[in-house]
């Protein structure tokens, strides 16, 4: 099987899985956005649920309404109708995400789950990941994380999780393995990496990603009392751009105090539109984003 061959598979009797590529690449992800828009626009009566993966998508359907093979043909037709996505318009927000790296809470979690969970038992996740990515210390890794924006690919796993990819050339991507066995516990708002992807855990959960720090602000707000959550209890949406800023404990505590009294607001630029073509020059794109956010 060629690594970029589109592969169709059934998941039991209620799911269809379409994997466009084994490796991740951003243009495949844009194509998935286009295909899913087309599938939703088609208003298929059998469609129950769907979710994008990073280089695939999953459809849940009612096979009593449309039988499996017929449904697969319909999805295939819609998938094949999307070809060139370089000029596809993507509209999202630019949001600054303040992060306390090397925080005491994720550090304690990380050191608790070594033997039987992690690749090695000596180093913390952030030190281990800095090392395998060729950085002399965690500071180099943090600098790389803050140097270019991330795009939200999907909001899967549990509600509010932000799965993001840094808008940088492939050879500059940070890449880390997932835990050998997932941890039974991850603190809420842990900032983490798995594969080539940034994950922000919205709430306490299990998890197999490497933990680097803690986000000061939330990605889910069930009460919807915060400004940024008035329209949706979930912050991340595919196409949003996240700019990570490293903060210290003092600023972290100040933000958490604002959260407690309901006055916290993310620094945000709304309605930012770009096309995949704009990503031909990553460095320039990163500059544009920074200018818009800090103008």
């Amino acid at each position: 099987m060629a690594e970029n061959e589109t592969m169709y598979n059934f998941g039991g009797d209620e799911y269809i899985f379409v994997e466009l590529s084994r490796p991740f690449n951003l243009s495949v992800n844009f194509r998935i956005m286009g295909i899913l828009t087309k599938i939703l626009d088609a208003k298929l009566p059998a469609l129950v649920d769907y979710t994008p993966g990073n280089s695939s998508f999953l459809i849940r359907y009612n096979p009593d309404i449309t039988p499996p093979r017929e449904m697969m043909d319909i999805i295939r037709g819609l998938e094949e109708s999307i070809t060139d996505v370089t000029s596809m318009k993507i509209t999202g927000r630019i949001i600054e995400i303040p992060v306390l790296f090397n925080d005491p809470w994720t550090h304690e979690t990380v050191m608790k789950y070594r033997e039987g969970y992690h690749q090695q038992t000596e180093l913390s996740d952030i030190d281990y990941c800095a090392k395998i990515n060729g950085f002399s210390s965690a500071d180099g890794l943090i600098k790389a994380i803050c140097s270019a924006p991330y795009m939200v690919l999907n909001s899967g796993f549990i509600p509010g999780l932000a799965e993001c990819y840094q808008l940088k050339p492939e050879e500059e991507q940070i890449q880390v393995p997932k835990y050998l066995n997932p941890r039974p516990y991850t603190p809420a708002l842990a900032f983490s990496y798995a594969g080539a992807f940034l994950d922000i855990y919205p709430s306490e959960s299990t998890g197999g990603a490497q933990l680097f720090g803690m986000c000061a602000g939330p990605t889910i707000n069930l009460e919807q009392n915060l400004y940024d959550f008035q329209d949706s209890m979930i912050l991340p949406k595919p196409g949003d751009l996240f700019c990570i800023r490293s903060i210290d404990m003092e600023e972290f505590k100040a933000i958490r105090a604002k959260l407690a009294d309901g006055t916290f607001r993310y620094k945000t630029v709304h309605g930012f539109t770009f096309t995949p073509k704009d990503l031909m020059d990553y460095a320039q794109f990163a500059e544009t984003i920074k200018r818009r956010l800090y103008a």
Binding site: G12, E14, N54, G156, P182
Partner: protein
Amino acid sequence: MIKIKKPGLFTTVQDLGRFGFYDQGLAPSGALDPNSYRIANALVGNQQGAAVLEMAYIGPEIEFTENAVIAVTGANMVPKVNGQTKNLWETIALKAGDVLSFKNIAGGARAYLAVKGGIDVPLVMGSYSTYTPSGIGGYKGRALKAGDELNIGKLSEKDVKIGTNVSEKISLNLGHHFDLRIVGGLCDYRLSEKGKHTLSHADFTITSMANRVGYRIKLTEPIDLIEREQPFGAGSSQTNVVEVGYPIGSLHLSGQTQPIILLNDAVTVGGYATIATIISCDLNLIAQAGPGDILNFHYVTVDEAMEARRANATYVQNIIASIS
């Protein structure tokens, strides 16, 4: 009103689930054993879709402050009214002041308590189901606690004769050995022939990590994978793939000797290779399996899965049709 005197081990309000939010990471939730859920509602004359209580392993103790009609289905968790033993799978009348409790579970894992009219909780995003990982839906987004007071709703559509009993028509495996049918995929291209053989021949034991999110299961030999150079973005372990959506009922390889089966409160996306998916009608079975129980998997085609689906639907419809 019903008053929870003792909550049981993990008692939650459930219906058939909350759909349309999987892309936002929100699992459907809903009764893990929908067959028993449907039959419970039918026995009290409720509309399908009414909320019931799902009771895992240890039943609650509940005081009814008004007359009520109830039914208990699913696991062998025998109901008692004021200490007096009643039948499972039967329409039971309660008087105001009656206390419902349960005997120790004697088979299976989850029982369903339907109350005529349904459990009245707010409809959240189209469903009454509780999704406890994020605290969404059901009663305050959580499992019930002592002291909780729940109202009875108005979702009954007919009167069922008290004493109606369908237990003789029920075929439900409440043993310790379960045969489950699977369809290969999503990423079963990662399995070698040896790995597929292991998956369909080995005994899998359910570990103590077993809840509504999923069951971690274990086997003694590793499931063999086709060795590959890991694709960009997947992570370096051979069990890692670039993140995929996880179906309910899917088996993923978070470790080659400890796969996880995802159930209705599943994580929606993840980066471990998904090697097979349990067919939807067999999820009723696994809902009644618990720690220490043995699972065997059997490959079927999607056409055979559809045949099994239709047979299960007919089985449930016939039972419901027999209730008058």
